[in-house]
């Protein structure tokens, strides 16, 4: 199995979820993240003092997939999250040695 992690724009989350769902992915885990990279931040002003904010809000999506589906899932994620502007994010794949569904104790691909 693989763990596919995608750092994406938060507003792409709904699209990603739908795309993965129509691809047969039945679960995923999302968390809030902040990213720093090429994308330029914004400026805030409080009583005339300027604050430049460089860490920008991102969503982190994690999906456990079987080995054979990993490449396709990566493609789906990249295609759906893309806007062409700096800050679109990254997708990466890490090998997973074991996965378990807590409810049933099923292991391996059956746990996904």
């Amino acid at each position: 199995m693989k763990l596919v992690t995608a750092i994406i724009r938060p507003d792409k989350l709904d699209g990603i979820r739908e795309a993965l769902e129509s691809y047969g992915v039945q679960g995923l885990t999302v968390s809030q993240a902040s990213g720093y990279g090429r994308q330029r931040g914004h400026t805030e002003v409080y009583r005339g003092a300027e604050y430049t904010v460089d860490l920008l809000p991102k969503a982190r999506v994690e999906v456990l997939v079987s080995d054979e589906w990993a490449d396709d899932i990566v493609d789906v994620l990249v295609a759906t999250a893309n806007t062409g502007r700096a800050g679109d994010g990254k997708v990466w794949v890490v090998p997973v040695e074991e996965a378990v569904r807590v409810r049933t104790g099923e292991r391996g691909d059956a746990a996904l």
Partner: protein, 425 residues
Amino acid sequence: MELQPVHVWMMVCAALVLLMTPALAFFYGGMTRAKSVLNMMMMSFVALGITAVVWVLWGNSMAGGGSSVGGLFGNPFEQFGLAGLIGTEDLIGAGFAGTFAIITVALISGAIADRARFGAWCLFVPVWVTLVYAPVAFWVWGGGLLSAEGAIGSWAGEAIDYAGGTVVHINAGVAGLVLALILGQRKGFGRDPGQRPHSIPFVMLGAALLWFGWFGFNGGAASDPAEAGLIWINTMVAPGAALVAWCVTERIRDGKPTSLGAASGVVAGLVAITPACADVSPLGAVGLGVVAGAASALAVGLKYRFGYDDSLDVVGVHLVSGLIGTLALGFIARDTGLLYGGGFEQLGAQTVAAVVSMAYTGAATLAIGLAIHRTIGFRISESDEQTGIDLAEHAETGYEYGGLGTSAGSFVPHPATSGHLELSK
């Protein structure tokens, strides 16, 4: 001259009404997304600042202080800067009247949450107060068109609008609808679940302070204790009944009574009792509250059906309950209503006043709104809406609870230089 009870009462009431505009800022601000809360609140705050100045300069003169210009408005220059009132107790009344102008224009902002250019709003406020609020207030309360001696009022009968059902709520509701249509829907309207309220406790805070202030709003002009007492009781019981009615409506329709509903019910009840507060019995007020609470609870859904994005339900709450209160007087006004054997005169007068105000306000707001929209633009860009209007229009965000969003970044104490330089000029 010594202070009299009526002076004390009106000054206290005026302070209460002034508080209602920040209260509205919370009522509305809590209902927006977290990334729009400041802009929403700012629309009320800046309305307060601008209208206070406009009122002192020429607004009060136009709404009743100056002599009538064709029954349409008072002469704005006659009491410019409240000249002529200084040294008299009439300054108190001018202050009280000013707070009504402030809240009325602020009410409109709920219809255009999350998407109005702040500069455009800052322009809209003084123009609308001058061209719409002041004249309509003059017609109803200042001896103009709709009053007993006015061109329309003398023909159709004088409408009862004790504290502003027509002048304030119907007016603001119609203006809100018109602006909502001009600006168009928010991106994701009716689809994006992110558009849920971000802080319901703030909505409840706003509703509570509005209720508190409304005792001043409804009662401030009373000078007789029996009348004042009736107003007080009605201002307590109508929103109470409407709160319950809104919750019951939700319980039946959606399965659960909500706190947003309770807060909204309070406001609907207050709106409905506004014109009627001095002219219906406490039982009448209970009935009015029940009807207004239930009707507004149903009416807030209309925007999804008809597709106008009246974001925070200025129409559903203020226009609908304002009309209910205004028209109900035709039936339950204690002296002249149909149910008290008073014939159709009162109902006619109420209807005429409502229709005339709606027509004028609708047309004038359309003109003002379109003029602004076609020139400097009334709506922010799509990407600004995406980013959040607080950042886009105010370079601020409402909250920073210690997350990572902003804690990393650089800091430039900008005014250290420029501030000093400009000061030392």
